[in-house]
Symmetry: C2
């Protein structure tokens, strides 16, 4: 019996010029307690002063989809939207093995 | 006093044709217990049957450099090298906040 695969996202997010720290603060607030989230890391891009890299691991694709409907996440998206300039790069992944994944 | 920043890596690794599962097994064996490693996730790339995505978070850049000298890691690199076809994409990051990071 095949287990439902984990679901991963790797994305580069671009803040409006000078707004990276503000964006980081908004995103950091909203990602504390999301069911099915095994890892959610927000990083600065050392190559671009306005860019962030976000890497996520979820128990499965449905858990990620459900997270987008959480009130805290919807509030963060609304707050962040005016200072998001784009999503230049995005990769889906199928995580297989990992160290440092939270308990679901 | 400024804390030493964390160090992150996002990399796409290409296996020799048909060798992705073998490569994944080798990498998965060697990454269990590395000092300073807060997260190490190996994922399949759903867009390329020979590609993996590896995302890493380290306490700092020195911890990552030191890990490359661990006997278990050197053995894994030697074993994997013949079936690694390349590293098409690589991004350094500065992780700032995260859910699911292991204790150092």
């Amino acid at each position: 019996q095949e287990k439902t695969p984990m679901y991963g996202l790797i994305g580069q997010m671009l803040a409006a010029p000078g707004k990276r720290d503000d964006l980081l603060a908004i995103l950091g607030e909203s990602t504390g307690d999301m069911p099915g989230c095994l890892s959610y890391v927000i990083a600065k891009d050392p190559a671009n002063a306005d860019a962030l890299w976000i890497t996520e691991v979820w128990t499965d694709k449905d858990a990620h989809a459900a997270s987008l409907k959480l009130p805290a996440v919807q509030a963060a998206i609304a707050k962040a939207r005016p200072i998001i300039a784009g999503f230049p790069q995005h990769f889906d992944t199928i995580p297989v093995t990992g160290h440092g994944l939270a308990k679901p």
